[in-house]
Assembly symmetry: D2
Homo-oligomer: 158 residues x 4
Amino acid sequence: MAAFEPKNPGYRAASIAMFDGQPAMHALGIVIVRLAPGEVELAMLHAPTLTQQNGFIHAGIITAGLDNACGVAAFTLMPKEADILTVEFKTTLLAPARGERFVFKAEVVKPGRTLTFCEAKAFAEHDGKTTLIATMTGTLMAMLPRIAASHEPRASRA
Amino acid sequence: MAAFEPKNPGYRAASIAMFDGQPAMHALGIVIVRLAPGEVELAMLHAPTLTQQNGFIHAGIITAGLDNACGVAAFTLMPKEADILTVEFKTTLLAPARGERFVFKAEVVKPGRTLTFCEAKAFAEHDGKTTLIATMTGTLMAMLPRIAASHEPRASRA
Amino acid sequence: MAAFEPKNPGYRAASIAMFDGQPAMHALGIVIVRLAPGEVELAMLHAPTLTQQNGFIHAGIITAGLDNACGVAAFTLMPKEADILTVEFKTTLLAPARGERFVFKAEVVKPGRTLTFCEAKAFAEHDGKTTLIATMTGTLMAMLPRIAASHEPRASRA
Amino acid sequence: MAAFEPKNPGYRAASIAMFDGQPAMHALGIVIVRLAPGEVELAMLHAPTLTQQNGFIHAGIITAGLDNACGVAAFTLMPKEADILTVEFKTTLLAPARGERFVFKAEVVKPGRTLTFCEAKAFAEHDGKTTLIATMTGTLMAMLPRIAASHEPRASRA
């Protein structure tokens, strides 16, 4: 992938603060492992509370990790004043989420002023072996103060 | 939608047991509200622990509800001996997940021996108003004992 | 679906002109059958030149019809000066595209200043029976003169 | 990507015959450029008849190329007796399809007995520069004689 030039020189601190401001990430035990312009790696340990009926991590939880990885990757390239929201994503589940540890790697495919396109992969680490278990393609949107005001009347009224 | 004829006369008990066997649903506080052949409605109360940086419920959590609604809807039409897994889904996020209570409604669009296609909608109830906040289209797969053995060598070896 | 109020009083003529300006629609033999604010129905006759190896219409052609239906439905709600582009879509193929005539119905799920979300269904008419053969969910973007200039430097330089 | 071992030693001839049996590919002027187990590259020249209202190739046509690339890539790894159908795909449109020539590269992400998952990219060659214009993730299904008979009653009645 091409190296990206962040618009916000303080992108690292801003991205970590944005991530850290999400209680859901704490609840799921997801942490940032690596961060670069347009790229991020998150990780999560297995938790029996987050499984489905066969003991694998629930697809929704895997998706939460993938979505957040896409969000942080996109956010690293956004200007300082932007907030971010997810427009849509597709998750493909390639293999059961069986493992002791899960890694979510995302990268920006194409950044844009309004829309940023990302791809992410989820890996399971099990018995010393790493397996690709899921992929995501997603669209993220930068909410700039001016645009936020005009696009999202509900938000500005809140 | 057309009424569907369940293949498993005990589909209600089987679907509830499958849902109940998922610790992740308990952890997220998601419950079954309504269940019919090929249709299901789940609900979840707002929880501050499941929010993102703006106080809305995280998109991954909304997706977990939508995915599970699709899974249960598809499962109601599967034969008794089938297990179910999600192949893929796309989530579109139409509005912020702001509310006191969230509802996930799924229905089967086309059942099949191997693949079942579902659609789901997530609604937020906020200040007495109900808003469509997200949609999902997903593909679910029936794992029949014979098929499971031949398709998923990892699972049978485990 | 809720009735939508078009921003462009001349939305009918504008939508027909936009559709008519697409040589690909002529090449595929796709025509507008019905048009209302936020809703459109297109139709196409079977053509042996557009089939795949089993004599069914190719999934890409069905997708072209679905995508264009979404585009026109979204365009009916856009302001006069907007151009439109497709951001992304997902097509689910439920049944073979076998028939004498194909219909593509799209409706806007949520319009927005920048992004509009649509859903579409493709039907095959075969031996007097109509079958749902495919569904689409898609994201469309309004390109307003100002936004177009700042978002798409390549286009303005061309 | 890992090298894949084709199950059908005659995969090249079988894949080319399957592709060649699709009149839609001839109508769109899409040809096979490169073929290997689990990988394929297709190409298409610009044609004014396949454009949308701004003179770019229509998104549905780009999707037809991407979908077919996924289909052929998946087909190279299927057993001799299998037929193939597309289950679903998502297309993300990153940039306008402006160029003299378009290339569609697909690779198998995970092959399976029933389902095969693929990714594809579309590139535009314009003024000596190659640009990534679209991506696809798709699910393809092998229709084996026995499975085809039981899954697709409509087909067997035809």
